[in-house]
């Protein structure tokens, strides 16, 4: 897929665990795992906003476009 999710990189930078982030943004660890692995078809703006708020970053830090 052309859109790459760099959530694990940001989590490592912030030294935060996936479960902690899942609890903060109020989604299940399974859904966060789907998002991290790039299997997700779409991301809601509300989820993206919550992630950015929790990790104190911009959407561009999490999502990246790479040409196939």
């Amino acid at each position: 897929m052309a859109i790459i999710v760099n959530l694990d990189v940001m989590l490592a930078k912030r030294k935060m665990k996936s479960i902690e982030l899942a609890e903060i943004i109020n989604i299940t660890p399974a859904n966060l795992s789907v998002l991290k692995s790039g299997k997700a078809k779409a991301v809601r703006f509300s989820t993206l906003e919550a992630i950015c708020e929790a990790l104190d970053c911009q959407p561009s830090d999490i999502l990246e476009y790479v040409k196939d």
Binding site: V34, L35, K39, A40, K41, A42, V43, R44, T47
Partner: protein, 155 residues
């Protein structure tokens, strides 16, 4: 009366009621058929009546299979998630059966019995209509399944 809601899908719904009614109906048909096959009529019957009797048994078997597929469809309707791969395959299978039924009847009456015994023109049209409807339903459920999968993967 206003508070009573009839649900079509899920537990304690109309499809659940239909499922159990169909099970009772199929069980009774199986019992009747097995009695007919195990202990056939011993009296001497004219050829036409005897052939009709055999023909009815021949028709009952594929119809029984058709009802079994219908039972599987209703079983999926009973569950909460109706947009599934099972539903699509059951509906396609049902459509194939519907298209095959007139041929089975045709072959049954023309090959094994008297040629005049095929009188299922009206039923043939109905079966084909049911098959086409089933194919359309399968494509609707296929689209529904795709949309649901996308929705499930929206985080």
């Amino acid at each position: 009366m206003k508070n009573i809601k009839f649900r079509l899908i899920g537990k304690n719904s109309i499809s659940s009621l239909l499922f159990w009614l169909l099970i009772i109906y199929l069980t009774s048909i199986i019992i009747i058929l097995s009695k007919m096959l195990i202990a056939p009529v011993k009296v001497h019957l004219p050829y036409d009546i005897w052939a009709t009797f055999k023909l009815n048994i021949l028709y009952a078997l594929p119809q029984l299979l058709l009802f079994l597929v219908l039972l599987l469809i209703l079983f999926v309707f009973k569950s909460t998630n109706i947009f599934s791969k099972k539903m699509i395959s059951h509906l396609n299978f049902f459509a194939v059966f519907c298209f095959l039924m007139p041929f089975i009847k045709f072959l049954g009456s023309y090959i094994f019995f008297n040629k005049d015994m095929f009188d299922g023109e009206y039923n043939t049209a109905l079966y084909i209509f049911l098959g086409v409807l089933s194919i359309f339903s399968a494509s609707i459920f296929k689209n529904g399944f795709k949309i649901q999968q996308e929705n499930d993967l929206t985080i």
